[in-house]
Symmetry: C2
Subunit: 401 residues, 2 copies
């Protein structure tokens, strides 16, 4: 898959539609990195799989050499809810903001390279604005534009009060893009409107406007609302493996495809294989196990993923009815050039992180099976064919695809 | 007429309806002056008769011992039109604002006692607001409230852009009332909405909210639009007497009653007499002359008013068809207790400012007539009866009412 296709994968909205190609071309011509902006609200530092959808896209940009800028919304967090009605939005102290930002960056480091990212606090420039500069800024946006935002429009139509400062916040988000000279602003689809303010403000400041890339909103464990801490329907990035496993097993079947697409790091081909299995009547529980293990492998490691599955099966499943959940493995990921590999090397690849001697012991003990056949020596030249099934240990099943 | 009736005369809107009585009672009980606020936009320092409608009401409060606060809107004037679209609203320098304010105060002194008034500049507190304080302030008002303002509503409905900073300005005007602790805010009826913001903000700052008193908007010389410099339909407070006279003579007949009510300082009884004359078929030109002379007497003096009439008649009227414009004079204003006065004293009263010897010379020369009868000596005991007509000199006509 080429870079552009990879960057476009799973993206819900790109604005303007061909903007990404243009920006990449520009960066190439000007021999510079693109500046990719992601805003973060330091009142809610607990990251979950919903956040990860956007963060993994950022990681792709980072892997291609572009510059990630994490914008900490310290200005509004310091103010809290000025009406005082929303008790959960108390004003944060400078120390609170700093602490939350650090917590956030720690979690972020599970996905992106925080060392290479730039971290900025918008209070650095917003606090410094004089009132007359604020007026200048506000004059660049019309009321009608702001009222186009879905929730504003809905509340206005339904006579639900909108306090005036709320109308100002999207303008600030836009101004942040001016200050950091963002080329791309990332967010969930619920951030589309706010992100487009950045385009508009950059234009009034005579800058080349950023493009907006919105990722789909992952629904939470309830399968209904978007994943959100306040709805108590999240899988947190720092959840323990057993918790991650159990929570994933609890999602409704209707959410499997969405989780497969947005939370796993399977390749497009692997995802296709899993989808086919599901459609062919595979027990959805098996698919969820595959997804759960993949998630845990990302945020912990494959070993703990296996242990979590084992724990779950022992704890909650009737062993007699336990079914195998084969995890898909792309042949092309295991061996680039030829279709043969030694069993030892194959197992090492599948259980990345495991030592050679441990794998050798596993094989010698007869714990490795290929297509239901027990293998006791690290045989040369295992042929890599689709649908080859490999079992390693008690509960680790792979299928080559 | 008692104080309350006098203060209520000509007022178009009082909010709340019985607010004035309440405030006066309060001031009396607390043994303090009321603080009466009038805002002034230092971009347009040329005052005209439209402004005077409000200023004369302020003067009444001042005469009763209350505290006038003239608020110079220096903050917004310094910003100008932040969109840059309105070339007539260029940002003003500090010196510009100061200069305009001085010009304004000079004109103001024609109506109110500027020495006794307090003059404040709102940039003194608005410039000092930090952005987060601004956010706090904005949070106290909802978008829907602001969209109730007629012009905002109209523009929003008609898709005419409203820049966001425009929505902020009424909030600032309201905050000014908080800062100066206004008891009453005065303005034209077009300021009703902005003045009510003061009530709301004072309440959120836990103050007793100001009352709003709106005076009618005087229409300009065209008889259609409100008097406004940009419409070139004004009589300026500093216009020369001849200009004032000519302009007043040029108003359409349909405007006579409005001018009589809002621009003259005739008493209610005098106004009634003039209205009756008009209805009885008196040439409207005579009534306009009466109004013109009254206006000039206020902003210049009665002598210049007479000269202006003379100039006008010589310049523009066919002398043969000249008609007498008798000015009404309340008997009760001339003599309080009995109904007799010497001709000399009567003439001195009617031509206030004129010296006794000059009047005596006029009488001796036969230039004074009573009921068409020439008088040459300062007769004792002129009887003050209604409809007594007095002519002094060539063009000064009075009728006792």
């Amino acid at each position: 898959m080429d870079n552009i296709s990879k960057l476009k994968e799973n993206v819900a909205i790109t604005l303007p539609e061909n903007g990404l190609e243009e920006k990449l071309k520009q960066a190439h011509q000007e021999n510079r990195k693109l500046i990719i902006k992601l805003g973060f609200d330091p009142t809610a530092p607990d990251l979950h799989l919903g956040h990860a959808v956007v963060l993994k896209k950022l990681k792709q940009f980072q892997d291609m050499g572009h510059q990630i800028v994490i914008l900490v919304g310290s200005f509004t967090a310091r103010i809290g809810d000025p009406t005082g009605k929303n008790k959960s939005r108390k004003p944060l102290s400078v120390a609170d903001v700093q602490h939350n930002a650090e917590t956030y960056l720690n979690q972020l480091s599970q996905i992106i390279d925080v060392e290479k990212a730039e971290i900025v606090f918008n209070s650095d420039w917003l606090d410094a604005l004089s009132f007359s500069e604020v007026i200048q800024l506000l004059s660049k946006v019309t009321v009608a534009q702001l009222m186009h935002r879905n929730d504003f429009n809905k509340r206005f139509t339904e006579n639900t009060p909108i306090a005036m400062h709320e109308l100002v916040y999207p303008i600030l988000q836009g101004y942040d893009s001016v200050k950091i000279k963002a080329d791309i602003e990332m967010g969930g689809t619920d951030q589309l409107f706010n992100c487009t303010m950045g385009r508009q403000l950059q234009e009034t400041f005579e800058m080349n406007p950023q493009i907006v890339m919105c990722m789909p909103l992952l629904r939470g464990l309830d399968g209904k609302e978007k994943m959100s801490k306040s709805l108590n329907n999240i899988i947190g990035l720092t959840d323990e493996p057993n918790e991650m496993f159990g929570k994933t097993m609890s999602i409704p079947d209707s959410l499997i495809s969405e989780f497969l697409d947005l939370t796993t790091d399977f390749s497009v081909e692997e995802k296709k294989w899993i989808d086919e299995r599901l459609e062919a009547g595979e027990n959805p529980m098996n698919i969820k196990k595959i997804i759960a293990k993949n998630i845990i492998s990302q945020y912990h490691n494959p070993e703990e993923a296996e242990q979590a599955e084992e724990f779950f099966v022992n704890q909650f499943q009737n062993k007699n009815f336990e079914e195998k959940a084969f995890e898909p493995v792309l042949i092309s990921e295991i061996v680039a050039e030829n279709n043969a590999i030694s069993l030892l090397d194959l197992c090492i690849q599948l259980k990345n992180g495991e030592s050679k001697s441990a794998i050798r012991r596993l094989i010698e003990s007869g714990a490795v099976q290929i297509n239901d056949e027990k293998i006791t020596e690290p045989a040369e030249n295992i042929e890599l064919k689709k649908h080859t099934k490999i079992k390693i240990g008690k509960r680790v099943f792979f299928e080559l695809v």
